[in-house]
Amino acid sequence: MPYALCFLLFMIGLYCVVVKKNMVKIVIGILVMEYAVNLFLIMLGYRMGGVAPIVGQSELDPSTGGLLSSFLNASVDPLPQALVLTSIVISLGSLALMISVCVRVYGKYGTFDITEIRRLKG
């Protein structure tokens, strides 16, 4: 069920990208798709009743110095979190790139409408 809702979020973004005419709206659609994908990746690694993959003082076994088995059996997956962490920052960089394209197009044509831009080109 949460997977389906997450997929619905992705589809809303895709609908926005393919249907809307406004350039900023298209950027917003791409942002929504990024959120949906990040959320889906994190959901894949979630365990019901899990703990965050950060070792604290209380998770260490005082006698041996190793990790307690309650942490090993309940920790959520750190791998998708690491991937998503890089992906979020990259999404900010690509957002800046897309917005600068929008700003330049607005400066040149005076509108965000992509159909107008296509008409003015030739």
Partner: protein, 182 residues
């Protein structure tokens, strides 16, 4: 977990409003609602690293988006693209949605992590030996900067390229070129 579902529905409603509203500034504010709601959801999914990063990145992204849309809102663009193309696109999106729903049947249920279903996965190794082999208590940092540092190097390169691209696009013709046209 009820709070999680409420947040997910909130995010979906915010996404629909962000897509459908006419005013660009309202759409940008709804993007902010999606981002902060998503940050709270990451907190519920036991990913505090992602929650912190998401919340600060969201603030910066909102500033950039508002910079692009403020005082440019005079051009209301109403309507969609051509009618036939719109209908076809919506139908295709809907068909993809219906087809994609069935893919999730092959995944384990929500709350059962995928890596626990298979023996001997990389994630299990990271959890078991991360502290011992890298010394970092934050296992996400251990994965990001030790086990998979090549990812981070690539990320730094991509960020570098994106910023250079943005600066090149934003800078106009330089003074020299304007003064003596070639």
């Amino acid at each position: 977990m009820a709070v999680f579902y409420i947040l997910l529905l909130f995010v979906i409603i915010a996404a629909i409003i962000a897509v459908e509203t006419k005013n660009l500034l309202s759409a940008v504010i709804c993007v902010g609602a999606i981002g902060f709601g998503g940050s709270l959801m990451f907190l519920f999914l036991r990913a505090p690293d992602i929650a912190i990063t998401q919340i600060v990145v969201e603030v910066m992204g909102l500033i950039i988006l508002i910079r692009a849309t403020i005082s440019r809102d005079l051009t209301f663009i109403s309507g969609d693209r051509e009618f036939f193309g719109t209908v076809v696109s919506v139908v295709i999106v809907f068909v993809i949605f219906l087809a994609g729903i069935h893919v999730f049947d092959t995944l384990p249920d929500f709350g059962t992590a995928v890596f626990t279903q298979v023996p001997d996965t990389a994630s299990q190794t990271y959890i078991e030996e991360g502290l011992e082999r890298t010394g970092a208590a934050n296992l996400v940092a251990a994965v990001i900067l030790d086990f998979r540092a090549y990812d981070t190097l690539g990320e730094a390169t991509v960020l570098f390229t994106a910023i250079i691209g943005a600066m090149v696009i934003l800078r106009g013709k330089s003074r020299k070129l304007l003064e003596d046209p070639d």
